[in-house]
């Protein structure tokens, strides 16, 4: 059965739009993976420093923003200090916005509670360089203030002063954090990933090279539930469910149709090959 692609497109669009307009309120259960990330951050001492790296392009913003916000809400609420940076050019502006927005929401002061270093290209060199000296890699912050003029940064030399690195990523960047910061300097890494990347990092989690993975819009919604906040991603979860369901149904229909055609072919021309 040859179906116009546009009919399929329409089904997907409806599966997303309808539940956004008329929410179903499906329950969101928290997975162990998300809980592990939450508990790791709970174990950090107050005042310790988390390095949040915006390792993504602007194109994945709807997935990346809720993830970064969930982590930052947790950090700021627990008085954990945050140093932001970006290893992708487009992450630079996104991270700058998100960090300042969230800090304002929690009444945090720039230079004491958080700082934003900005962007460095060529991630291998940047990640390795920070293992020796962060000041060498970032002589100034994003707004051109010299590194040593920022009280929070003055206390930080290299990974030795960083409790945890969280890489918010839509691609292979956490691999570089593992290969260069974890393997070489023993830096602990957590990855907040778009859903598409989750399976790619499972081996690293299993081998203990990454301490935890927070995955996709669903992971962000779960995290907000753990934080006891009104789950911002919850409405999205209804749409997500319905869209998945409609695609699953299409896979099944496609197979049933193909199977039916094959049976028909076999009866008309015995032994004929299909596909």
């Amino acid at each position: 059965m040859k179906l116009d692609r546009r009919i399929i497109f329409m089904i997907v669009a409806l599966a997303v739009v309808v539940p956004l307009l008329f929410p179903l309120g499906l329950p969101v259960a928290v997975t162990d993976e998300t809980r592990a990330v939450y508990e790791r951050l709970e174990r950090l001492e107050q005042g310790s420093v988390v390095m949040l790296s915006f390792d993504h392009e602007a194109s994945s913003l709807p997935e990346v923003r809720p993830l970064a916000e969930a982590i930052l809400n947790h950090c700021f609420r627990r008085n954990i200090r945050v140093v932001g940076l970006a290893l992708f050019a487009e992450g630079a502006a996104v991270g700058y916005d998100i960090l300042h927005d969230l800090a304002a929401r929690h009444d945090k002061q720039y230079g004491h509670d958080y700082a934003y270093l900005g962007y460095r290209p060529q991630y291998t060199a940047a990640i390795l360089g920070m293992g020796e000296s962060i000041r060498e890699v970032f002589p100034t912050d994003y707004d051109d203030t010299p590194y040593d003029d920022i009280p929070l940064l003055r206390e930080i030399r290299n990974y030795g002063d960083i409790g945890l690195v969280v890489s918010v990523a839509d691609g292979s960047l956490p691999t570089y954090w593992v290969e260069y910061a974890q393997a070489r300097y023993g830096q602990e890494i957590i990855a907040a990933l778009t859903a598409v990347m989750v399976t790619a990092y499972a081996p690293y989690v299993d081998a203990g090279q990454i301490s935890g993975v927070l995955g996709g819009l669903k992971g962000a919604a779960e995290y907000e539930i753990l934080l006891g906040r009104h789950a911002a991603g919850k409405r999205g979860m209804d749409a997500q469910s319905l869209a998945h369901l409609s695609i699953a149904v299409m896979i099944v229909i496609g197979n049933v149709v193909a199977f039916g055609l094959r049976r028909k072919n076999e009866t008309t021309e015995a032994g004929g090959h299909s596909s």
Binding site: R5, S59, V196, M197, T199, A200, G208
Partner: protein, 289 residues
């Protein structure tokens, strides 16, 4: 298939000398001069030495003979696809993906396969379209295709506007390639190299214009799409093996053989480590942690 024996590039002796001096200094010093040698990194050093030895020795041995590489279904499909495009009187499109530059091993392997494809299409008189996201890759492809046509005695087939740099932007590249596909309607589309998010856009459009799609990539995420959307798919390392199989280049075949030896070593180590682990001897596995 053309064997290129004796075309081995000259190996500079300087890096080998440097490597030798370095290792000669390092190896005996573990006990003596532990202050400047990072002793906790000995497992990595051992791994580097084993790998370098396996690869370099295999490449050296490959000079005089042709190592066997098992045939891969995707490779056999390449000639069929070229034949089909010729029958239809349609061109062939070849893409190396937005994810790779010239320094990436997959791009290098893909250009080797391109050289085979160019020679075959020259024999059939079928033109190749090669839009690229990277000016350096584009210029390397121009050389490769020109040489292939020349080897097939059809140098006049080459058209410089068919083999060109388009744009660096990922989605701009995808849109441009889509446009070329819907206008020129290639009979076969090769998607071999490092692909990212654009992979499915390209594969879907290729299906829409009725082309046979032969794909291969090292990106595990895009592989799941290629398996679903394309007619033949080379999985991960099969791309490297395919380039060796088609070119007969001793440099590539030697490296493939070297990696095969390493795989056997790894499987053996895994089995030994497991047995020792069951006997409660954990020291061995800890070296790897």
């Amino acid at each position: 298939m053309i064997l290129r024996h004796g075309k081995m590039p000259q190996v500079s002796s300087v890096p080998f000398a440097l490597l030798l001096i370095f290792f000669a200094l390092i190896l005996p010093s573990e006990a003596a001069a532990a202050d400047w040698y990072a002793a906790e990194r000995t497992p990595e050093l051992a791994a580097v030495i084993i790998c370098a030895a396996a690869v370099l020795v295999s490449v050296y041995l490959a000079r005089g003979r042709r190592f066997y590489v098992r045939p891969l279904p995707g490779v056999q499909a390449i000639d069929d696809a070229l034949g089909r495009a010729t029958e239809m009187g349609a061109p062939v499109m070849y893409l190396t993906g937005w994810g790779g530059d010239l320094a990436r091993p997959t791009t290098m392997a893909s250009l080797t396969i391109l050289s085979h494809v160019a020679r075959r299409t020259a024999a059939f008189g079928t033109p190749i379209l090669f839009p690229s996201h990277d000016p350096v890759v584009a210029s390397a492809a121009q050389d490769t295709i020109q040489q292939g046509y020349a080897a097939g005695k059809r140098p006049e087939l080459y058209n410089s506007s068919d083999v060109a740099f388009v744009t660096q932007s990922q989605l701009g590249y995808a849109a441009a390639v889509d446009g070329i596909m819907s206008r020129r309607k290639p009979g076969a589309v090769f998607l071999l190299g490092s692909f990212e998010g654009e992979a499915l856009i390209l594969a879907e459009t290729a299906h829409n214009v009725g082309a046979v799609q032969i794909s291969g990539t090292d990106s595990t995420i895009q592989l799941s799409f290629f398996l679903v959307a394309c007619d033949y798919t080379l999985i991960g390392e099969e791309l490297f093996a395919a380039s060796g199989y088609l070119s007969g280049d001793p440099l590539i075949l030697g490296a493939v053989r070297g990696q095969d030896i390493l795989k056997i070593i790894i499987v053996a180590v895994l089995l030994i480590g497991t047995v020792l682990g069951l006997l409660q001897i954990h020291v061995f596995a800890e070296w790897f942690g």
